[in-house]
């Protein structure tokens, strides 16, 4: 047994648990990779939440921490519900026709497998304010399109559209969930004279709640780590990382900058631990509330 388990055991100690403890230690130090780590107690955390500079001088603290927190919550609160609604709606459309479902499913699923770097390159081109096809198309309709990746108001919405392009994996899950709903449930509620909305409200949606729950948890974990698209769109447009006007400075982007551009390894470790704790707390809250609204049974277990 131990022989079979040993690869994971070694990996867990050396590449997961050990590094986590190290990073907890680093989060209480000042460490720039050149001189050895210097113990500074809670100063990194004080600086993060805005009470101290890195050198111990009283100050406003990290000027961009809360910006990055706000941006991250924005992309999750706007992007994730849209993702779930569109995936569910598309999956419901897919249950209607008798033929060709597999063909459509292939087309919808494919973009979710595409590399984020490639997808971001394409969308920066599509959203180019002057030469991109989207604004050219809007121009034909007499609408002058926004500056998208060059406008702090419209940069995040452009990323949300890019995210919606990749909902194929969620569509596959919702479709599988829908095909698991027992037909007699619909027959029973139809006999009672339910309309389409009531069928959705009292049969379809309850039966889909396990999938909603799963996509919600995955979406929050991924949302906290949102990085590739923001970073690549910045390097491709020629904006600075996080720009325009820090509207794309997400938590993980700021963490990466702290760690690998400024080599504030201690401070970045503290940010990483706050990220970890926030992920755990939100996941725990979702798990605890899930008993109230997630229905298990009916083939889904």
């Amino acid at each position: 047994m131990l022989l079979f388990l040993s690869p994971w055991l070694f990996g867990f100690v050396v590449f997961t648990a050990g590094p986590m403890l190290l990073s907890l230690y680093y989060s209480f130090t000042h460490y720039d990779l050149i001189s050895s780590p210097r113990w500074i107690g809670l100063d990194n955390y004080r600086y993060m939440f805005g009470r101290l500079t890195l050198n111990g001088q009283p100050n406003q603290g990290d000027p961009y921490f809360w910006t990055s927190v706000r941006n991250t919550f924005w992309i999750i609160l706007v992007g994730l519900p849209l993702r779930i609604i569109f995936a569910m709606a598309t999956a419901m459309l897919l249950t209607r026709p008798k033929r060709g479902v597999n063909g459509y499913r292939t087309l919808f699923f494919m973009p979710s497998m595409a590399p984020t770097v490639g997808a971001s390159l394409v969308f920066v081109y599509l959203f180019n304010p002057v030469t991109g096809p989207i604004n050219q198309f809007l121009g034909h309709l007499g609408i002058s399109g926004p500056l998208w990746f060059f406008d702090p108001t419209w940069a995040k919405p452009a990323l949300v559209v890019l995210g919606l392009w990749g909902i194929g994996d969620a569509i596959v899950l919702y479709l599988a969930g829908l095909l698991n709903v027992p037909r007699d449930l619909y027959e029973a509620i139809s006999i009672e004279g339910a309309n389409a909305w009531q069928r959705f409200r009292y049969v379809t949606f309850p039966m889909l709640t396990p999938v909603v729950f799963f996509t919600l948890i995955i979406g929050i974990i991924d949302g906290f780590q949102y990085f590739d698209q923001a970073y690549v769109s910045a390097t491709t447009t020629g904006n600075g990382v996080g720009d325009p006007q820090n509207s794309l400075l997400f938590y993980s982007v700021w963490l990466y900058e702290q760690a690998f551009t400024y080599f504030h390894m201690g401070y970045a470790s503290a940010m990483a631990w706050i990220l970890f704790v926030a992920t755990m707390v939100l996941t725990a809250i979702l798990l605890l509330t899930s008993r109230r609204w997630v229905h298990y049974g009916g083939g889904l277990s």
């Binding site: 867990f12 292939t106 494919m110 490639g118 081109y125 599988a176 590739d228 963490l255």
Partner: protein
């Protein structure tokens, strides 16, 4: 009714395909035409691909990406099959608790371990072995030989479905777990192993964060994802070449996907619905 359903679905399909179609046609347009937003290339400039290969060392980046994706896939399959076996076909005390530990690492943000790991590869691991790790593919490939939580989970889900009677026969003949794994479980679990291999290959092919952290300092070791992320800003190239480069990067993924889409769809469903 059928016509209405299909026309809505065709419309949605068009929205999903629109970026891919634009990428393909823009890749073979002239510089000037790529700035007009028009779709149909006039003329077709196939030499754009040659220009991309001339502009950056595409072969080297392709090879690096292939090395990373290929070797880490070998690592994940070799390490996760026995581990998943231990979590599904061997009874031992505390199995479920330890398995929960495996699952909980799925929720661990990459950032939490990436900083200390970077320091370990740069300092301690380097000092102990005398091997250079930063600026090479090694820190990306080596950990995959020591298990991956998602792959262990997916394989375990599949191993659980293999009937006990099939393994009992070997037990009666006096065969141990290695024999059961080799002669019964692996042959039966081929679809799941293929799914794990393909998921990992594509994950590594697409991976950006890992290569960015470890390879940013060494251009010769970079993967396509890192090389392309800075392609436009460093080489001041036009959109047609950027799209041609993006297409070269995405084409292997698209080809693998179309040949093996059933495997991906079944894999996604296995982890999401039956979890």
């Amino acid at each position: 009714m059928a016509v209405a359903n299909h026309s809505v679905l065709i419309g949605v399909s068009a929205l999903f395909m629109f970026p891919v179609i634009y990428m393909f046609f823009t890749a073979v347009q002239s510089n000037d035409q790529a700035l007009t937003g028009k779709l149909w290339p006039d003329p077709f400039v196939w030499s754009n691909f040659r220009t991309v290969f001339h502009e950056i060392n595409v072969w080297r980046y392709l090879w690096n990406t292939f090395l990373y994706a290929g070797l880490s896939t070998v690592g994940v399959v070799c390490s996760c099959v026995p581990v998943a076996y231990a979590f599904s076909r061997i009874d031992w005390r505390g199995r479920n608790v330890v398995f929960l530990l495996v699952l909980s690492t799925l929720m661990l943000p990459t950032q939490v371990t990436s900083i200390p790991l970077y320091i370990l590869w740069a300092k301690q691991f380097h000092d102990w072995t005398g091997i250079q790790f930063i600026g090479t593919l090694r820190p990306l490939i080596i950990p995959s030989f020591f298990g991956d939580a998602f792959s262990i989970f997916l394989l375990r889900q599949f191993f659980m479905t293999i009937p006990q009677e099939l393994t009992d026969a070997i037990r009666v003949d006096g065969g141990g777990h290695l024999q059961i794994l080799w002669r019964v479980v692996i042959p039966l679990a081929k679809p799941a192993i293929v799914a794990v291999a393909l998921f990992n290959f594509i994950y590594a092919w697409n991976d950006f964060y890992g290569p960015l952290v470890y390879l940013a300092s060494n251009q010769d070791a970079q993967t396509l994802s890192v090389a392309l992320s800075s392609f436009r800003s460093i080489h001041h190239v036009d959109w047609n070449l950027t799209m041609a480069a993006a297409l070269i990067f995405m084409l292997p993924v698209i080809v693998i996907f179309f040949f093996a889409q059933r495997v991906f769809i079944e894999g996604i469903t296995l982890t999401g619905v039956k979890g």
